[in-house]
Amino acid sequence: MPEGPASEFEQGSSLWKDARHRMGQNKFAMGSLCVLGLMILLCFAMAWFCKDPNKVNLVNKFAAPSEEHWFGTDALGRDLFARILYGGQVSILVGLIATAVSVAIGIIYGAISGFIGGKTDAVLMRIVDTLLAIPFLVLVIVLQATLSNFSGEVTQWIVDSWGWDKQFTSRLTNVVPLFFALGLLGWLTLSRIVRAQVLAIKEREFVEAAVALGYSKSRILFRHVIPNVLGPTIVYSTLTVPGFIMYEAILSFLGLGVESPNSSWGVLIKEGANFLETEIQLLLLPGLFFSLTLFSLNFLGDGLRDALDVKASKD
């Protein structure tokens, strides 16, 4: 029998195709995507062509915007445009890396909890409930204060034993604890979402088939279950990125995060607030970049979540 052309059959529409279509319809989400793309391009590509963000020029402080300094200069005569772009690198990286850390922990924890089930599941989820009830910012402040206290010693050790550039190393040891302080504490809600997904996937036929084939439990978990929860989890985690960026700014504002002369959007807003009465652009411009990024991330996350219909379920 000759096979009929494929077009005779109803073309199935996959989950991702549906989701792409729904995303395309959402003007806010698409607009946000463009803004974010532009922001990343500015902070990570454009920054290479900018002036040195740490070059102090006390003669030219508080300069008005000009052709040389697009956004003018700050209290130490540093180019504000360059500082905003470099600060953006730190802020965006904090958001992304902290999210990556928390996704990694959340997926493994949630998947194990949901997959094993029974008593183990009950105990693991009780632990999450308990940790969730602890005020997040309190823990982050304590953890960050502890971690950042070591940064001086760690810098010295790296410089001594590996011979790295001191300025670069101290910049690194200032920022890296922040990634972990936030990431180590941010996985709790994610693990719940993963668990709910795993519970649903566990009952599907392909898992049954894998069990029937006699595969080991860990193989089923890592090869069959986790890859299938990855997509929705990563979508949901888009919504945690703006949260982490906000926490970075809060910690920096309190003097517990990124420290001058390094810049991040939180540091810039903090510095700008000191010269509010005369030089309001020092507060407004970093604030604008910061808010615009958070705005787009939130709209994008909302749009992605609606498009894929990911729900955080408690049970």
Binding site: P135, V138, L254, L283
Partner: protein, 309 residues
């Protein structure tokens, strides 16, 4: 109900104990000395000071002495940087934080919930779009940008409002507004979502089919169910207000607990750190309990789910 309360109480104690354990060991892990300000002190004096605070004892003993003192003497230890009992520091600064937090919460509920209801009722109209747009601004613009802007554009021009300080009753207005804005925005979004979900249900259609006026359908039939997500958020919202107050207290120079906490974290004042963390944790456990009770009151399904028998 009693079983539910007991369960929550046990969980609350567990939460506080976990918080204590984490904070204790993190504080111990901080490098350096708590008494670094007194640099020219002999080793002997230093040892005596350490002894006075009980810091010379073995770690496990310190670990159980602190909670034991809380239970038997109601003492939260003595601040190593200020030399005063932690309890006094909290007693002095907490009322200010509480007033600020409650005003902010009142503001958030008073603004956020009506905006959410309005948005839900006028779904997909320009009213809805602008309300949700403003809510998004509230979430995305940090309080440390809004606060200074309010200081320069409102406080400096309006009579009666001060740029910073804490003395007369109207001094609470600007900090409370700044602090409550984020929670108001979240509440508005949650209320809108909750009401929209209820409005799509059959009993609402029945009520509409009976010919009830739209306002009656909203007030009598949708509000109770639609407010559940917002009420459940009140516990976390209170936590957010207290944590957020670290920043707002700094901006508006409110003599609250936040500054002490941040100072304790940076100066390695472990008793102050432990005392304030536990106090925050306690407040949040209590607020979550109240939010749970309110949710159970509004939503019969929760009561049934928690009492299977």
């Amino acid at each position: 109900m009693i079983k539910f309360l007991l369960g929550r109480l046990m969980q609350g104690i567990l939460v506080l104990f976990t918080l204590y354990t984490i904070t204790f060991f993190l504080a111990k892990a901080m490098p350096g000395e708590p008494f670094t300000s007194e640099k020219n002190v002999s080793a002997e004096t230093k040892a005596n000071i350490r002894k006075l605070y009980g810091l010379d004892r073995p770690l496990w003993e310190q670990y159980y002495v602190y909670p034991k003192n809380i239970i038997t003497e109601g003492s939260l230890g003595i601040s190593t940087s200020k030399g005063r009992p932690v309890k006094d520091i909290i007693a002095q600064s907490f009322p200010n934080s509480l007033i600020l937090g409650l005003c902010a919460l009142g503001f958030a509920v008073g603004i956020g919930i009506p905006i959410g209801v309005l948005s839900a009722v006028r779904k997909n109209s320009w009213v809805d779009w602008s309300c949700m747009g403003i809510a998004m601004i509230g979430i995305c613009v940090p309080s440390f940008t809004i606060g200074p802007l309010l200081q320069i554009y409102l406080a400096a021009h309006l009579p009666g409002l001060k740029v910073a300080g804490w003395g007369s009753p109207q001094d609470v207005i600007l900090p409370a507004f700044t602090l409550g804005l984020v929670s108001a925005a979240y509440l508005a979004r949650l209320t809108r979502g909750g009401i929209l979900e209820v409005l799509s249900q059959d009993f609402v259609r029945t009520a509409q089919a009976k010919g009830l006026s739209p306002s009656k359908v909203i007030i009598k039939h949708s509000l109770r169910g639609g407010l559940i997500p917002a009420v459940a958020y009140l516990g976390p919202a209170f936590a957010a207000l207290i944590s957020g107050s670290f920043i707002v207290e700094t901006i508006f120079q409110v003599p609250g607990m936040g500054q002490h906490f941040v100072n304790a974290a940076t100066t390695r004042d472990e008793f102050l750190l432990l005392g304030i963390s536990l106090f925050f944790g306690f407040l949040i456990v209590v607020m979550n309990l109240i939010a749970d009770l309110l949710t159970g009151f509004l939503d019969p399904r929760v009561r049934i789910a928690d009492n299977p028998e």
